[in-house]
């Protein structure tokens, strides 16, 4: 069973990363990377690395790639004009995906109700193991990472300030 899932997500991952490199439209590149990261986190779940898979999904697909999308739309590299037929097709697709999400939400809610009556599981989570290693052996790298993020914030702010004062064609943005 897990072998089939491995091949499924491996196929999606390879296909999506080919699309990241080969697609011409930058928007499609970013969206393909979202798909690739999603299937990568599915592979992490197959490898029983639940915490890292969730962090990957939240930080990458949730924050980093939305940031990418923001920049692509901000630069406005190519404008797509939709015909009304395309628009209605996208609307149909959106409604289908939304209904699927609603159905999966209903399933999740049902399993949540069932889980409340069950006993506590004896499966050890990976969060407590990783947290234990993180705050004992790897405490110094963890603290240094916060320093790195601080320096990154300084860099971005100084870049943005320089762009504001020396930007030649700021009316484009």
């Amino acid at each position: 069973m897990s072998l089939y899932f491995f091949y499924l997500f491996a196929g999606i991952l390879i296909f999506a990363s080919l699309a990241v490199v080969l697609a011409r439209n930058p928007l499609y590149n970013v969206l393909a990377l979202v798909v690739a990261i999603f299937s990568l986190s599915c592979l992490f779940v197959l490898l029983e690395a639940f915490f890292v898979g969730m962090v990957l999904l939240l930080v990458y697909a949730g924050a980093v790639l939305v940031f990418f999308l923001f920049v692509v739309m901000c630069l406005n590299l190519n404008t797509i004009t939709l015909t009304s037929a395309q628009q209605s097709r996208f609307r149909l697709l959106g409604c289908t995906v939304g209904l699927m999400f609603l159905a999966s939400f209903g399933l999740a809610f049902k399993s949540f109700i069932r889980a409340q009556t069950m006993d506590a599981s004896n499966i050890r989570g990976t969060i407590e193991i990783i947290g234990k290693i993180l705050f004992t052996d790897y405490l110094l790298p963890f603290e240094l990472t916060s320093l790195l993020l601080l320096i990154a914030i300084f860099g971005i702010v100084s870049l943005a300030q320089g762009a504001l004062s020396t930007g030649k064609n700021t009316e484009n943005l």
Partner: protein, 100 residues
């Protein structure tokens, strides 16, 4: 049963695709996206080694890689925005200011 070799082969394939993207694309945004693919491939092999050796430090390394990648992407995208404002393009060939 899935072996370690399957994951390592998959990781190698993704790494090669990302490397081709970094080498061939002239769009700076695409180079950054391909760099993300390289990081994702190395993350996959870290987690696979962590699972098959029973050592959770590999997953911790992935955690750090994600943090560093977030900082890298933020700086890189800020540089891209500044570049677009100054040159009105994000093709890497147009960056000629520091040419000898």
């Amino acid at each position: 049963m899935i072996h370690l070799g399957n994951y390592l082969a998959l990781s190698g394939i993704i790494f090669s695709i990302g490397l081709v993207g970094v080498m061939t694309s002239r769009n700076v945004l695409k180079v950054l996206l391909s760099l993300e693919l390289l990081l994702a491939a190395s993350n996959l092999s870290f987690v696979a080694f962590s699972k098959f050796n029973g050592d959770y430090a590999g997953q911790l390394i992935v955690f750090f890689v994600i943090l560093v990648a977030a900082a890298e992407v933020a700086i890189g995208l800020a540089i891209i925005v500044v570049m677009y404002r100054r040159l009105s393009t994000i093709q890497a060939d147009e960056l000629k200011e520091m040419k000898w």
